[in-house]
Amino acid sequence: MQVLLFGIIAEKAGRERMTITASDTKELRARLVEAMPFLASLNYAVAVDRRLTNSDRALNGTEEIALLPPFAGG
């Protein structure tokens, strides 16, 4: 599925989107750290379809995933 990268994560990854395959958010997080080891030391949230995920959930592959570093608006 499509993963959108923002802020310091996009900067460190050198891109703004990537594709990851995972059947749930737990697997997704593991795959993301494999693809981007620097994530292990960063503070970030995962959004699924534009909502923050608080608990693990299944993914069917059509979701829009986003990795969000700390917010800085205002």
Binding site: G7, R50, R51, L68, P69, F71, A72
Partner: protein
């Protein structure tokens, strides 16, 4: 949720700094709404903080725009549900905003000052907490730091 305004799809993002003339036009548009007795406004201005002896020259704002607008719609509904306000307008900059320029505009109007005041305080705080907006502080030596509201 009878108020149609709380449901209208809106995009809060503007490219570049928010000009003072835009704020004046926004205020002037409310002159025909004579049930309004008070307007409360918050404006965020980019501050030239000193970080390790280097000054912040600008902040480059980026956003997860769709999610930010969806979150903003939720905050709007909460504000209209909690306070008897007539209007609520929110705008945020994208792109490079120099120190001294305006990047954030929150504007609530109501019959009386207390609801307008409380709604602006609430919306200002919640936008900072809930909207996926990211800020790259560009320093005087052209290095940068990532700003966080936490």
């Amino acid at each position: 949720m009878n108020d149609v305004k709380t449901h209208k799809k809106r995009d809060i993002f503007v490219e570049g700094a928010i000009p003072a003339s835009f704020i004046a036009e926004s205020i002037a548009k409310h002159a025909t709404q004579t049930a309004i007795g008070g307007h409360e406004i918050f404006l965020g201005q980019v501050r030239a903080d000193q970080i390790d002896g280097k000054g912040v020259e600008a902040i480059e704002y980026t956003a997860y725009r769709d999610m930010a607008n969806e979150q903003m719609a939720v905050i709007r509904e909460e504000a209209f549900a909690r306070w008897p306000i007539t209007c609520l307008h929110v705008h945020h900059s994208q792109g490079v905003i120099k120190a001294g320029e305006l990047c954030f505009f929150v504007f609530a109007s109501a019959a009386h000052r207390q609801p307008a005041r409380e709604a602006v305080a609430f919306v200002t705080d919640e936008v900072k907490k809930r909207l996926p907006i990211f800020g790259k502080e560009i320093l005087s030596d052209q290095t940068h730091l990532w700003k966080t509201n936490a």
